[in-house]
């Protein structure tokens, strides 16, 4: 085909600032761009002088699509935002709707949601660290970490029926309770986690090659990180102990004992280490949550959002109508707007929802950490070498699904 295809992006700079620099295009489809991201960089030799980061190649009209489904129907869709930790998206979205409806979760649901959020955080951090280590050539560490992640995925599939896109949250509760034996397998996996993450610590922490590639690379200060909207592990790697689980506790976090790990200089090594330590804290939290898991129902007893028991749907007209209304019209959410944010593995994941009092959202907006991070990631690249873009980009953990929506 000799047709000239139009370029979807217009670069911020067409010409070089100096006559001894060149402009190089990286991505959008490159194994190290984790999804599709395009970086147009001006290079002075090997050094990046300017970088212009483009996202949007995975844009699929998420927010537009949300405006024509019922509140419940969106749950499978929000799973696909951050597909490494779909459960956290589910729970954040459900909590936003519950906030508008004024629903208080049952104690068991609260603890289970917290437990599964932390479990997802481990899976997400494992993915991020494994991928960025592999890009630096650490294949053994990659296989160790991905193996544990796969144990977690299979284990979550036992609970939810899916490995990645769980559709497990429900407005006012969860899809189903834990299957028998789930908690004992959980403890087995946490034991495996400790063995293999211990080995990765041994392989990487004092590894000369790894330190040379990551120490003092992609440095950002706390003030800069806040100015550019960085949250989550990137902000914490600069030394600021800002974590929504501590600062504005939600779910059961107020009852848990945990630390907020921070870095010392905000470079790639700190981001690696903060994520490793956060996983340990998550394991610590999961063990506390298993001990405090109360018995009882997982769904609130509220006709406005919880589906009636199937047995009753077939035998009573009131339940049949209730079921029909909830499926066909959706839960009636009182008019108003709410912003609910959870500490997702990458940072503040916020849902801003607007309701006009019907079963369909008027607007759903996602404050996706990855998207905001892409706005500031050029700060981590400029002044470093071309090859440093790979570990820097890996440590930022851009997730295309939530970045481009």
């Amino acid at each position: 085909m000799d047709v000239k295809l139009p370029n979807p992006v217009r670069s911020a700079f067409e010409k070089t600032e100096r006559d001894d620099t060149v402009i190089v295009n990286i991505g959008p489809s490159h194994p190290a761009t984790h999804g599709t991201i395009q970086i147009i960089a001006e290079l002075d030799g090997e050094n990046v002088v300017r970088a212009d980061v483009h996202c949007g190649y995975l844009h699929r009209g998420f927010e537009k699509e949300c405006e024509s489904h019922t509140w419940h129907n969106l749950i499978p869709y929000v799973d696909r935002l951050n597909y490494c930790s779909g459960l956290i998206n589910d729970f954040a979205y459900c909590e936003a709707v519950e906030e508008l409806m004024g629903i208080q979760l049952t104690p068991r649901c609260k603890v289970l949601r917290t437990l599964l959020s932390e479990y997802s955080r481990i899976a997400d951090h494992l993915t991020c660290i494994a991928a960025s280590l592999m890009e630096l050539g650490a294949m053994t560490a990659f296989l160790y970490l991905i193996m544990i992640r796969d144990f977690i995925y299979e284990h979550l599939a036992d609970l939810t029926g899916a490995r990645v896109t769980y559709t497990y949250g429900r407005i006012g509760g969860l899809a189903r309770d834990l299957p028998p034996g789930w908690l004992s397998r959980l403890e087995e996996i946490l034991g495996e986690y400790e063995i293999f993450v211990g080995r990765v610590h041994g392989l990487m922490d004092r590894n000369r090659i790894f330190i040379d590639r990551t120490r003092d690379v992609g440095v950002i200060s706390t003030a800069d990180a806040i100015n550019w909207g960085f949250t989550g592990p990137i902000l914490r790697s600069t030394g600021a102990p800002r974590d929504l689980r501590k600062d504005t506790p939600y779910l059961a976090y107020a009852e848990l004992d945990f630390e907020v790990p921070v870095g010392i200089k905000g470079d790639n090594y700190d981001r690696y280490y903060v994520r490793m330590r956060e996983m340990d804290e998550s394991v610590h939290m999961i063990r506390q949550l298993v001990d405090m898991l109360p018995e009882g129902p997982i769904n609130v007893d509220d006709r406005r959002c919880t589906l009636p028991e199937k047995r009753l749907v077939y035998t009573e007209i009131e339940s049949l109508i209730n079921h029909f209304k909830l499926i066909m019209e959706g839960p009636q959410v009182p008019a108003g707007d709410a912003y609910v944010a959870h500490e997702a593995p990458n940072g503040e994941l916020g849902f801003y929802i607007v309701s006009t009092g019907t079963g369909t959202p008027y607007k759903v907006h996602v404050r996706a950490p990855s998207f905001v991070h892409m706005g500031g990631v050029h700060r981590l690249m400029e002044g470093y070498q071309l090859a440093d873009i790979i570990p820097t980009f890996g440590s930022v953990n851009m997730i295309g699904g939530e970045c481009d929506r």
């Binding site: 992006v9 911020a12 909207g229 707007d337 801003y352 706005g375 929506r405």
Partner: protein, 157 residues
């Protein structure tokens, strides 16, 4: 969130802002587009709202002014969020840009410009971000049909 901090903030700002209320645990200020930059400046310098979280818009066709621009800020010192709302008309959907105050405004304002056509005066770079160069219209406006397609490259038949 501590209600004490919210009430103090509300009292301090209520004198300048016509409408301040607390909704779902968050301070909500409704203001005129002209007051926006001044209030945000105060929020940042005096009240330590250092993290600019989010900007988006809500389209209310049939109401005047049509667009509601919604900002969220977070204070890492007070650990509270504040929401700012301002209305802009369809004929001139423009507000002042927050780029001079927050770096994160660059990208987020680009997205809002893409999706709703809100013009952020002072943002030097309002190129499409999630959409592509040459996209016609603003897809999150309510009058943009959901099924409308404008492929950049012709579909293979």
């Amino acid at each position: 969130m501590t209600p004490g901090v919210l009430n103090t903030l509300k009292e301090r700002l209520a004198r300048e802002v016509g409408d301040a209320s607390v909704s779902h645990g968050m301070l909500v200020l409704v203001l005129a587009p002209a007051d926006l930059l001044g209030i945000v400046q105060r929020l940042k310098s005096e009240l330590q709202f250092d993290l600019f979280l989010d900007v988006t818009a809500v389209d209310w066709p049939g109401q005047t002014p049509r667009f509601e621009v919604v900002y969220h800020f977070y204070s890492t010192a007070h650990r509270v969020r504040v929401r700012l709302k301002t209305r802009v008309p369809e004929a001139d959907p423009a507000v002042e840009s927050l780029v001079p105050l927050y770096g994160s405004a660059h990208y987020m304002e680009r997205e809002c410009h893409d999706m709703y056509g809100i013009v952020f005066r002072g943002n030097p770079d309002l190129r499409p971000i999630l959409l592509y160069e040459g996209f016609v219209g603003h897809p999150l406006r309510k009058d943009y049909p959901k099924r409308q397609e404008q492929p950049l490259v012709p579909y293979r038949s």
